[in-house]
């Protein structure tokens, strides 16, 4: 047990939790003024429900003893009863033995489960019925997140065993949440008026504030995934900063040439695209590769967010364009740029003398997670839609979710404006 490592992982856990309010504000700024609280609420609700569900069952399903074929864990850690301070998490032994309390590992992973569920809310903005969302996200966390986390993160997961690399969650977090968002967005349909009516962000300052919180918290997400206060953590930290910077600049450059103006929304989006793409790679690539990955993500995602108009799916806040596409870029880039000189537990990519095999495994991981997440999320959303109804009524949608779902308004300006008093 290492005091330094434990301290770093606990601090990282708090940093990762901080990303979810950050994400909430990042999204809330982008929606219209009548749906701001619904966006914040969905994410805060996730912080509540996923924490409990994770402790009760979710962690066990993801990191418990393999129940068969590397597909899902068993119920051995349900309620965290047999985890304690000395419990052994299956697969972490020998050279990969944990030097932190199992509870520290559990709480760190809990924050990942929370933000992954939160990410979905961007795709479905402005039209989800809150009560049905609550049911959906609870079940989703258990039925989709935990299995995928088991496949990729648990040393007993089938993709992990095949050698798929995902340092901090390119597939588990970003591709997974993005495909779920796409599935639910398709089930519930387009927002009324989209894409004809303008639905511009109501407060870009909130979005930039949220993006800043995400960026800050992401150091815990990525560098914390080293599970120790060590060289690898420093490497992941540096790589995270460089890729984010690259993503930000690349997105602005594309905007400048394509649309004429570099925008603040572009800066925030580019930073997030860079963060997403470096997430799976930050512990396996060198700093120069990180810059390349960031730039690639910023440039490609800035174009990818435009495809929804061509295909007609209303992914309201571009969870697909940024998180699926960014996640794919990051996961596949490992096939080219991973190097064991950075992390001996990884492998070498194509450009570092490793041949084609890693790229093959990475592709398999990407495709498997994409397909499973989309199909499972689609079925789950469809079932809830048929039973409880997943979307609000047309009238409620027009009036806004803040008032109809929560009976509150984000901005009460009547006291400062026209009506005095």
């Amino acid at each position: 047990m290492s005091a330094g490592n434990t301290a770093w992982v606990l601090v990282s856990s708090a940093l990762v939790l901080f990303m979810t309010p950050g994400l909430a504000f990042y999204y809330a700024g982008m929606v219209r003024a009548k749906n701001v609280l619904s966006m914040l609420m969905q994410n805060y609700f996730v912080m509540g429900i996923v924490s409990i569900v994770w402790a009760l069952v979710g962690f066990s399903l993801a990191f418990g003893k393999d129940a068969g074929f590397g597909l899902i864990g068993n119920f051995g850690f349900a309620g965290l009863l047999h985890l304690g301070l000395k419990g052994h998490i299956p697969g972490y032994s020998g050279s990969s033995a944990l030097s932190i309390p199992p509870l520290a590992f559990m709480i760190f992973q809990m924050m990942f489960a929370i933000i992954t569920a939160g990410l979905i809310t961007g795709a479905t903005a402005d039209r989800l019925k809150f009560s049905s969302f609550a049911i959906f996200i609870t079940l989703w966390s258990l039925l989709v997140y935990s299995p995928v986390a088991h496949w990729v993160f648990s040393p007993n997961g089938w993709l992990f065993k095949l050698g798929a690399l995902d340092f901090a969650g390119g597939t588990v977090v970003h591709i997974n949440s993005g495909m779920a968002g796409l599935a639910v967005a398709i089930v519930i349909g387009k927002r009324k008026g989209w894409p004809k009516e303008p639905m511009p962000p109501h407060s870009l300052p909130l979005t930039l504030l949220g993006a800043g919180m995400l960026w800050f918290g992401w150091f815990g997400f990525n560098a914390g995934s080293a599970l120790g206060a060590n060289e690898l953590a420093a490497q992941a930290f540096v790589n995270t900063q460089l890729a984010t910077a690259g993503g930000l600049l690349a997105w602005l450059l594309v905007e400048k040439f394509k649309d004429g103006h570099p925008t603040t929304l572009g800066a925030a989006s580019g930073a997030v695209a860079g963060l997403v793409a470096i997430t799976p790679a930050c512990g396996y690539v060198n700093p120069l590769s990180s810059i390349v990955i960031g730039i690639l993500a910023g440039a490609v995602c800035s174009v990818a967010v435009r495809i929804k108009f061509r295909f007609g799916f209303d992914d309201a806040l571009d969870v697909v364009g940024v998180h699926v596409v960014g996640g794919i870029i990051g996961a596949l880039s490992l096939g080219f740029l991973a190097t064991t000189s950075i992390n001996s537990a990884g492998s070498n990519g194509l450009f570092f003398g490793g041949g084609i095999s890693l790229l093959g495994v990475q592709t398999l991981a990407v495709v498997s997670v994409m397909v499973f997440s989309f199909v499972a999320s689609f079925i789950l959303a469809k079932v809830i839609d048929k039973t409880f109804g997943l979307r609000v009524s047309r009238v409620d949608e027009e009036e806004g979710l803040d008032m109809t779902q929560h009976s509150e308004a984000a901005y009460s300006l009547s006291g400062t404006g026209r009506f005095g008093q």
Binding site: P195, P198, T263, G321
Partner: protein
């Protein structure tokens, strides 16, 4: 008595107020407004999606003046509010039948 209504660009409000003060006009009502005329709004781009925003922020000024003051007031507003670019706004004059100052009960031009 005349009601003068002007719709102007928001950043011209200070100039218009100064101009009116200089010719002895001391009262007005200002409201934030939205609108468009020949300017037809502008284009905003978010993540590459173009939105045409036709209602632009404007300031609406209203003041009641005597018949004699009216031409000078209109002149002053036009002079202060112009940028010579599209979207400068409009001024119009309408007749007012009756005015009462609430505090004193004065009526007509006395109340202005």
């Amino acid at each position: 008595m005349k009601l003068i209504t002007a719709v102007i660009k928001p950043f011209k409000l200070e100039d218009v107020k100064e101009g009116l003060k200089a010719i002895g006009i001391h009262g007005m009502t200002v409201t934030e407004a939205q609108g468009f005329g020949r300017q037809r709004g502008h284009t905003e781009v978010y993540r590459g999606a173009e939105y045409n925003v036709d209602l632009l922020p404007k300031i609406r000024l209203e003041m009641v003046v005597t018949d004699e003051e009216a031409p000078a007031v209109v002149d002053s507003i036009v002079r202060s509010a112009t940028t010579s670019k599209i979207g400068d706004g409009k001024v119009w004059v309408s007749s007012v039948e009756h005015v009462v100052r609430i505090r004193t009960g004065e009526v007509g031009p006395e109340a202005i």
